[in-house]
Symmetry: C2
Subunit: 585 residues, 2 copies
């Protein structure tokens, strides 16, 4: 077997050259005594022409070719006639006139066509993943994935990071999602857990003085499958010592800029904008706002707290909020029925109702307009910067419901109204997160990120008095409304870490049992350190333009555990289960 | 925190410069009113001098410093007096005169000194792994590991390989070692297995037309811990389509050459030598011979088959062998007691006895010399190229025992006699392996490599008539007596794969159940393909000069499953175990 060129590489520059290709038959057509065969390899397509006047033997073989046969073709590159040029492919101006062809392997008719557009269901695509991955759009995604990790590695290598592998068979940790457990045969009665992240190991590497660590790390969560979640996922994971938050953010901005340039050819501007968590929640109702468009949430609580519209007044009275979105110029586009549909949508996020007003030359119109006369109307119009033709949408509820429902509504409206430039990539750091979240049901605090996040020094006294006010030295990177990942500076002293566990409700003994090794490590000269983790699968999804996370993973999990490798459990495995006394419900 | 330089970076070129360092206190000495502090970071050491005439404040802080404190030092680089120069470190010709010092973190006295030479036991080192990894020799190993993967990735990127991640949660396979099993909570009664290698997935990627795949892949085997084996290990894993065995070997030689150049600064010559499996077994008694020295095994079966020494004659008569090593010039160095010890050593490998002869000017001497008179003596001396002063060591037994015991003895003698140049790296391909091994006890054939290895085309008819004679298109790369890894061309047609399973004793239904997905894939236009996998841990061990595999793994497993992260199983994990009805013996 030999090839001098790949299909996607050939163009006008090769005219007149004798070449040899190896690839898959994409399509065969017979036309006027000639046979045309599109030969595909991972680099692209080229048209090969078989002509009895060039080779009787070759056209005889060509006659037997079917889709997905693998062939080796020898021939000459010839310019196509001007009216035959196909501008959609690199090789569109040329074709190969075959002198020889050898069938390397044959193929049954595949269950779906190997083309970018497919109407095959995902079940079939996953069953025949090896055929699904032949579709150029799929190959391109995995090429991009590989290019992204290549870029990340080269960048971090150059910044002095060491790639270090941390264990996959490890211990379970008490916070976070459920671990996958792995019974140990050698150590009777004990078990390993698969890591949800290399968090503790990378902190150990900082204690060890490695200074800069990275890993493209596999992580695991035993959670239900969802469209946007896989039980195993991949993190671009790093940790570094002696750097400030600004320095960490700056370095990651340069890394992201490089990725965007390498894989998308796009120059993004750095530094990225930064926004406080509180501001993101206030203006966008989201901690990962898509800032490519407006439709911001406007707080009217102050404006309507004494409103004649009792729903509004009561919401504010009971400690909630009234907020609105001014959908500029959209009044005419939304019928009452359309608005009812928006109300139902907001209801998914907990809103009990969606109040609305339209604005015309005379003022506010709509079912609740009567509650807003004179001064009240003027102040509403002023606060919302409303003018004739606008549609105003209101939610009055407790703070979290207002944020969730109007935040979701904002995204829906942005899409529906075509306000989002899908080719634009807008990065944003969300900073100044709260360190804790209070769970009202359980009456306890949880770590908003994880229990190793460092509070601001000046907020330390609040750990005792008002934990909800403590800010974390944490940061999330948001791209177009998706959280790519984030990180934080870490606690590196025993007393702060102990205080942290105390606020989280750990008994002293319990904290020591679970995390004694960490707190002990902190006593032996631990450097100030911090880190970042980005979700690689999501980065690939966003940059490839896909909306299906499974399209970014070569062999994803599906609803059945028995996916892909569909063989039955082997006798060896069966015996193992028995030996482990492993009985599953 | 800020640093202008690292400790290991400073040298004579910086004399006169104002600099700032951050690092760990390696050592503090008070001497004549001055305080000397060695400051260590991952790059190396530098001596910092505190002088009350330069800064009273600084020397006051310096007085409080203890080993492993982290400090930030500001000062000036000064040349050391000629008699103070330390030629062992990069910064040995200079020192830093401190004007300011800040303690960034303090430290308790570590349980062992942070030095290359340590008498701390491995248990203590592993318990305080974050301190053990501070020892420069350990850091250097992980720096080398990172440099090796960096070199591998850059090489393979440039060769057009795509990095593709294959699943960690997968299905168990019936061949090979025991799998780790992972119960699935979502899919009641089902379980995942951790992969022993990405073998089937990478073959799927070839079927998918990816053409060149690589991954630095984590693999798992639920086997007992041994000094040279960890339950999780890392493979440099690749697979490629349309290449011949020669092309695959050539590419891997260039990769290894590049690794040796980048991390050891050594130019190795390519192509590497190739040796048939049969020849390696015959000459070295090993399929992974250390060819840096002689002491080859010489087959005397023909010479002694009619010997007066009945032990030899009987061994040959019963289908066994008689082989010997001529230990040139060693007769005088080995007393009868020494030779008895060698005999005991050979016994570990199954040899029932170790016969010996010494050669002097008059001929053969020793207990069995009387059996070798005249013609018999002359032919022995000639075959073994023996001369005065030589020690001849013989084993007569069945073929496998002769190979194992003399092979091991050869290695021992090579080391004991200092015949091995430990700084020399000698690569060797072992090729032309048998496809099958016959298990006499079980009366069946096993795959010598794995059941996806392609036989030589011309040996295909032997699959039916004499499987033991079928040669595999397989290759192992050996370095200094260690197997670095290997690979093979793979079967890519359904009928050969079916024949393979048939020889391995699979019932047709069983083969279909276990590997139907693979054989079905082969029918849709599968390219000829092959691959290689190298054990990264072992590569690092050999190139770093370590003899302990655990020193190449940041957080290795030890005899106890509860190692490293010594917290107790969390309540969440306990609940999970119960929910899964997971009861371990």
């Amino acid at each position: 077997m030999n090839r001098t060129h790949t299909s996607g590489q050939l163009n006008e520059q090769h005219i007149g050259e004798s070449i040899q290709l190896i690839g898959w038959v994409q399509k065969r057509r017979d036309l006027g005594g000639l046979i045309f065969v599109d030969v595909r390899d991972r680099s692209g397509l080229v048209q090969v022409v078989f002509n009895p006047e060039i080779s009787e033997a070759a056209i005889e073989v060509a006659d037997k070719l079917r889709n997905e046969y693998i062939i080796q073709v020898t021939g000459t590159v010839i310019a196509r006639a001007a009216n035959q040029v196909n501008p959609n492919i690199t090789s569109g101006a040329i074709e190969v006139h075959a002198t020889e062809v050898v069938i390397i392997n044959d193929a049954k008719t595949p269950p779906f066509a190997i083309e970018n557009q497919t109407d095959a269901g995902e079940d079939v695509r996953l069953k025949y993943r090896y055929l699904d991955l032949r579709r150029p759009v799929m190959y391109d995604t995995f090429k991009m994935r590989s290019d992204i990790t290549k870029t990340v590695r080269r960048f971090l290598d150059d910044e002095g990071f060491l790639e270090v592998e941390t264990p996959i068979l490890t211990k379970s940790t008490p916070e976070g999602a459920r671990d996958y457990l792995v019974p140990s045969r050698v150590h009777n009665g004990e078990f390993y857990a698969l890591p949800q992240s290399p968090q503790l190991f990378k902190q150990m590497l900082m204690v060890a003085g490695f200074e800069r660590y990275y890993q493209i790390a596999r992580c695991f969560r035993d959670e239900d499958l969802r469209a946007d979640r896989q039980p195993e996922f991949t993190q671009i994971d790093m940790e570094m010592s002696f750097l400030s938050m600004d320095e960490i953010l700056e370095m990651n901005e340069r890394m992201m800029k490089k990725i965007m340039k390498e894989v998308k050819g796009i120059d993004v501007t750095i530094p990225f904008a930064r926004m406080d968590y509180d501001e993101a929640m206030a203006r966008y109702g989201s901690d990962k706002p898509d800032v490519r468009f407006g439709l911001e949430l406007v707080d009217l609580s102050e404006t309507v707290k004494d409103s004649a519209f009792k729903v509004f007044a009561a919401a504010v009275e009971s400690g909630g909020q009234v907020k609105a979105i001014n959908v500029k110029g959209a009044a005419a586009n939304y019928s009452r029925k359309d608005i009812d549909a928006l109300g139902e949508f907001a209801g998914i996020y907990g809103a009990k109702g969606l109040a609305w007003l339209k604005v015309d030359e005379e003022g506010l119109k709509g079912p609740i307009a009567k509650f807003f006369e004179g001064e009240a109307q003027a102040s509403l119009i002023q606060t919302l910067e409303a003018s004739a033709g606008d549609l105003l949408l209101f939610v009055a509820d407790k703070k979290s419901v207002v944020a969730d429902s109007l935040g979701a509504l904002r995204l829906k409206l942005g899409k529906d109204l075509g306000l989002i430039d899908e080719n634009h990539f807008e990065f944003l750091w969300v900073v100044n997160w709260p360190l804790f979240e209070y769970d009202e049901k359980e009456g306890r605090y949880y770590a908003a990120h994880h229990p190793f996040t460092r509070p601001f020094d000046e907020d330390l006294p609040l750990m005792d008095t008002d934990p909800s006010k403590v800010r974390a030295q944490a940061y999330d990177l948001v791209l177009n409304g998706y959280e790519l990942g984030g990180g934080s500076l870490r606690i590196y002293s025993r007393d702060v870490q102990e205080k942290m566990f105390q606020v989280l409700g750990f008994a002293e003994e319990e904290a020591k049992e679970q995390f004694g090794f960490l707190m002990e490590a902190f006593e032996y000269g631990t450097p100030p350190h911090g880190g970042v983790a980005f979700g690689l699968d999501r980065v690939v999804m966003l940059l490839s333009g896909s909306t299906n996370l499974r399209d970014t993973i070569a062999f994803p999990k599906t609803a059945s555990a028995s996916d892909l490798l569909t063989q039955a459990p082997s006798p060896v495995a069966q015996a193992q289960l028995e030996e482990l006394n492993l009985k599953l419900k």
